[in-house]
């Protein structure tokens, strides 16, 4: 069985590493000849909008999935006619458009921060009225890792921000003074079976995920599951879906979805009975899902821009290293470290040690 993956980055690489034991082979489509998944299967070197190349991938695969959120909608529109393609194109389309995403949350009764559409500069004033300040102006499409957004502190920030973002359709969103940044990774099988990982508590730095820590038995677990279950059901979803959430006091506000395996779920490789990668593959292949239970306390630290001395990191008890095989570059995710322990208090001390080795204050 051959799985085609749109995108050949680290998520594709980790999907392949989880998939070989299931007897799968992989083919990737990625424009970069250095795509880091390329060692683990055949690669079609082409852009995601290259219709003929996408067809070559589709015709060589028994099922297609994607690791990359910005696959053009027109690519996903024709794929499902050729080959089973999961997750559904609709989930990708929603994830690509912040306005549709927030509107769907609202329609499904999932609380969000205040938001308003800004299609042109004339919308800015009324949007500010509805959303208030401080707020964030975000491009509706193509934003990731903190890119494509500007914070507004005063009404006079609005017009320059709009210009800086290129005058494209935007959303204005309330800047949430959150207590915790959370995410929940969910998975739904082809038969509608669902499973939910323990929520993760996340810390970003310079707009890039820095640290995730899984929180089994968190008091917000049930509410987070309820929100993501509504999304799974609304999409008739198949595969792994991540939902990022702000917690403010006792309230959860949904922020965004990622219709794919997710950086805040990387701790599941060693930290859970079944990793998010294996469960995504089980789901899209129609296999029963594996247990999403955590073995115990676990955390994940991203390796961004440069790699630490791996020997020193591996000397930390319970630490596992994941290097993606990418050329170092400032701001680039090059790998991650997972840390698993038996007790929460142990995790704190060992996490400090990992962060020291990774060169983070």
């Amino acid at each position: 069985m051959i799985v085609g993956i749109l995108g050949g980055g680290q998520l594709a690489r980790m999907l392949a590493l989880a998939g070989y034991p299931l007897g799968l082979k992989f083919r990737f489509l990625d424009p970069s000849p250095e795509a880091c998944a390329g060692h683990l299967g055949g690669q079609v070197i082409a852009g995601f909008a290259d219709h003929a190349a996408v067809l070559r991938l589709a015709d060589a695969a028994h099922v297609v999935t994607f690791e990359f959120e910005n696959v053009p909608a027109q690519t996903l529109a024709f794929l499902p006619e050729r080959v089973p393609t999961y997750p559904p194109a609709e989930a990708l389309a929603v994830a690509q458009d912040r306005l549709r995403e927030k509107a769907l949350f609202r329609d499904l009764g999932i609380a969000t921060a205040r938001f308003a559409a800004v299609d042109n500069p004339n919308d800015l004033a009324s949007a500010l009225d509805r959303v208030g300040l401080p707020a964030i102006l975000k491009t509706r499409t193509l934003g990731y890792d903190g890119k494509g957004q500007v914070t507004l502190r005063a009404p006079s920030d609005a017009q320059p921000a709009w210009a800086r973002l290129g005058g494209v359709p935007c959303t204005l969103e309330e800047l949430v003074a959150f207590d915790r940044e959370l995410s929940i990774i969910a998975v739904r099988g082809r038969n509608g079976e669902t499973a939910f990982y323990p929520i993760a508590e996340n810390l970003h730095r310079h707009g890039i995920l820095h640290l995730s820590r899984c929180r089994p038995q968190d008091p917000m677990q049930a509410e987070a599951e309820d929100a993501v279950r509504r999304l799974l059901d609304a999409f008739g979803y198949v595969g792994v879906l991540a939902l990022e959430i702000f917690q403010v006091g006792g309230r959860l506000l949904a922020n965004e979805i990622a219709p794919r395996v997710h950086n805040t779920g990387h701790w599941t490789i060693e930290g859970a009975v079944t990793s998010q990668f294996e469960n995504h593959l089980r789901a899209i292949l129609g296999y029963p899902l594996g247990s999403t239970a955590a073995h115990g306390p676990a955390a994940m630290v991203n390796l961004v821009g440069q790699l630490p001395d791996l020997g020193r990191v591996l000397a930390v008890p319970g630490a596992h290293v994941h290097v993606y095989g990418k050329e170092p570059r400032p701001g680039r995710k090059l790998g991650h470290v997972t840390l698993c322990t038996a007790r929460e208090d142990e995790l704190d001390a060992l996490l400090d040690e990992v962060l020291r080795q990774v060169g983070e204050p």
Copy 2:
């Protein structure tokens, strides 16, 4: 960093799957163009005695290891001069010769069944005197999975058995009426650091490993560790070493070593904090070893000759499937199933279910 592996079978494949997260790349030497590790790295298609091909592997790798026990001694003799090669050639040479193996056990004070050398038919009578009956006549070299051995019940069996084995140098070994067949997987780093997995209790069928079950806190753990530690130290070993042991009453009798990752350690992929594959790589690369602790009760069932319905196996809670990507053939190891649970009594019931799905009575 590129790791060269002599052999491209499932052990090489699982080493590669464990090694990509460490940022490694792989190159395999194997005579078969269908070698199942071949999808996970470059392959030199050549025999293990092909000097020029082995040199090509050595020159392309930063470190060389082997997954295959019958690499010719002359290949391993020149490799270490070209490139760091682990485990040491001496361990391989001992493992290839049942007489040297048993003699080393004896020299190190490790108990074994009675044994005697049979270099020619004239040795048979005195060997029978020393060893007694029933006994097993085994070729000194090239035996595996029950091949190259004949059981002797009466003195008159001896000459025909010798002829049937081709008249090559043999050992005669006491047939042990064991209570349990055990193995211990140990690992030693380049700096002499050692670690030991919980012993596994093993069941063979038709001479092929059928089932392994890890036994944390087994009363024989300390004695098994003591035996394998003597071997590690004697060899100045680097990498994973497996020792197979018979338990008779309260006594342990060493049977044989495998100087490589071992089928009875496959449960460690999901069942231990660090798998035997990751620890072998950590060892040969000079990294600190990872914890060998088991997460909990775990068992492994080999998939021999044919594959079961994977969906039905994956439906068993705690079951993970490892398919090697090999063509089915009677008696061929095609994959394995690992089963991990929280409690021993749970494991019993779920293991029955896995065995039913695997089609074993």
